[in-house]
């Protein structure tokens, strides 16, 4: 091992990155684009459900109920229908996801004892529909208990007390915002792109341009090439991690309760995993196109779909859950959420850290053994 040779490879790699527009775009633009897409555009929270109401009663009571909907941040009344056809139109066209129809004689029936309202749901987005229905039930239940209380008070009776109640305390993500658990995961996504995608090009590019033959005719060792080529991407990956983490906290207001040291240590491990994977693919495939596609399929897609980044793993079919266990990204995402939202002590996610460490070791060895200084 010779330090000057490693430094020579590193310097050359940095110069080439700095002159390659495509690499620069990936390094500087991708983290920001992903962060803003997942920070703003992707929102799994169901709020402001567009609502259509058809009040066939038109009394003080029916208007009170509709006001309760209007006051809730979960609904937004976008249309006051004048007949059923308009209700159907609203749902068909997708203008509204939910329609509330108050029947005629609503107030009379309510005062006489009991009545009901109709809710029509657009379940083509089943998740939003079922959440919308839950909100509707909650609004209606709150309204009906107010009616009960008023009824009792009018008669000088004690208001009825429900026998059972839930007192909830929401931990870690107090406002139940999906953004807060998605945004830290973007760090993993950025690393998959910057780490695996960019490194998957490095060796393949040397083969395709014919520079590999000259390179391996010199005394530079395979390990020196590997270190010299990966260190620049490691530094870039760590900088991107820092930028993403700082923006998550400062710009998006994601809580950060763990330790920055642990964040960078675990990120370094995950980065070694994806860098080595990309490098290994580059050595084996010898073609930039093949290697970069492999790298995206092996890192970006599983990180996106199967790591728990967007879709909860415990909701997946059991077989798919097993598959997620072989993905390093799964462990890294768990660690990220622990550090950002929970601030749990390291021992609570030591097994995930160990898993990443094993992956890093195995992939570094694979990458090192792949490159031979031969043309065959």
């Amino acid at each position: 091992m010779s330090l000057p040779r490693i430094l020579a490879v590193m310097r050359k790699e940095f110069i080439q990155i700095a002159r390659d527009v495509r690499s620069l775009l990936i390094i500087f633009a991708i983290p920001l684009i992903l962060l803003f897409i997942y920070g703003y555009a992707v929102n799994l929270d169901v709020k402001h459900v567009p609502l259509c109401v058809y009040d066939r009663d038109g009394t003080q009571q029916s208007q009170d109920l509709l006001k309760a909907f209007q006051a809730s941040e979960y609904f937004r009344i976008v249309h006051l229908a004048r007949d059923y056809r308009e209700v159907v139109d609203d749902i068909d066209s997708g203008r509204c996801a939910l329609a509330i129809v108050i029947p005629p004689r609503f107030a009379d029936d309510l005062n006489a004892g009991a009545t009901s309202v109709q809710a029509i749901l657009d379940a083509s987005d089943s998740n939003s529909a079922s959440i919308g229905l839950d909100y509707t039930r909650a609004v209606v239940a709150a309204y009906s208990s107010r009616v009960q209380v008023a009824w009792a008070q009018n008669r000088g009776m004690a208001p009825p007390v429900p026998p059972l109640d839930v007192r909830s305390r929401t931990w870690f993500n107090e406002n139940l915002e999906s953004m807060a658990d998605i945004v830290p995961g973007v760090v993993a996504l950025v690393m998959a792109v910057v780490g695996a995608f960019l490194t998957s090009l490095t060796i393949a590019r040397e083969w395709e341009r014919g520079t590999m033959e000259q390179l391996i005719s010199t005394p530079v060792g395979a390990l020196e090439i590997q270190i010299g080529k990966l260190v620049p991407y490691f530094l870039i990956g760590m900088s991107d991690t820092a930028v993403c983490a700082v923006l998550s906290v400062i710009w998006f207001g994601v809580p950060f309760r763990g330790s920055w040291t642990i964040l960078f240590a675990s990120s370094a491990l995950f980065l070694v995993v994806v860098l080595s994977l990309g490098y290994w693919m580059s050595v084996v495939a010898k073609s930039q196109l093949a290697a970069s596609q492999f790298a995206l399929v092996a890192t970006f897609l599983p990180t996106f779909l199967l790591s728990g980044f967007l879709f909860p793993i415990d909701q997946m079919p059991v077989v798919v859950q097993w598959i997620t266990r072989v993905l390093p990204a799964r462990y890294y995402i768990t660690i990220l959420r622990n550090i950002f939202l929970k601030g749990t002590p390291v021992r609570m996610f030591a097994s995930q850290l160990a898993a990443l460490g094993i992956y890093a070791l195995v992939l570094v060895i694979m990458a090192t053994r792949a490159l031979h200084k031969r043309l065959e």
Partner: protein
Amino acid sequence: MNGNEFAVTVEKLTKRFGKFTAVNGISFETRRGEVFGFLGPNGAGKSTTIRILCGLLEPTSGSATVAGLDVATQPEAIRQRIGYMSQKFSLYNDLQVIENLNFFAGLYSVPSSEIRERAEWAVRMAGLEGREHAMTASLPVGWKQRLALGCALLHRPPIVFLDEPTSGVDPVSRRQFWALIHQMSGEGVTVFVTTHYMDEAEYCNRLVLIDRGAIVAMGTPTELKRGSMKGELLLVECEPLGAGLEALRAAPGVEDAAVFGRALHAVVRDARAAAGPIREALGAHQVTVSRVEPIPPTLEDVFVALTAGRAAREAVRS
């Protein structure tokens, strides 16, 4: 041991790629300090041989040493002692001239105190003064080749392997390049160079003619020209050339004939005696002969004579 005398020794070296035999049991030696030419058409096995000697390919069988080191077992030690210029231009086009030089100086472990001086030397040698910060991609082919040579010489290797260094280079740059090769040789460097330009063989101290993986002749240019031609050579200028060639091949006393530029060359046993009958034979086929005269053979004649004979023998055998 002759380790001091020879820079390269090759013994029954064979290289197969699947069923294709690229190099077939060749043996030769290269002496220290000489310009050793490896001459043959494309696909003859020149690049394969040079790549084996540089430790880039493993031999299928046979053995070879470079600077007294075994190519199969000591490739890394060999790489310290050689400079290599591959057939395809293989420096970094997206680096500046000086960045390429610094990079290779680093890889060859040139001491940092000497890097500047060696890079300046390479720039001067390649005639690239004032172009140090030019992007390598922007250089003409001939300049790129000189830069590649400079990169291969930064660490003062005792042996350099140049694989078709003048391929695709204009004639003036080719001559400049050969002047550099002789300058290196004058400084005691062994130069192992391949080419498919027959005229360049004249620049070599010694050379090997290789065809389809096998050596067809070996020696100094003079030895080859003298010893390898059976018979003498006649230059025949005539019109039309195609009909002239056919008639010439059928003419009495002619052993072989080939087109060379805008004329024909005929191999005959006795040049003086054959001239007359050849004029008559061509005239009988309505070919106008403007000139018939004996000429000294070039290496191209030698090569054609040797490979034609070999092809004929192979045809008979199969």
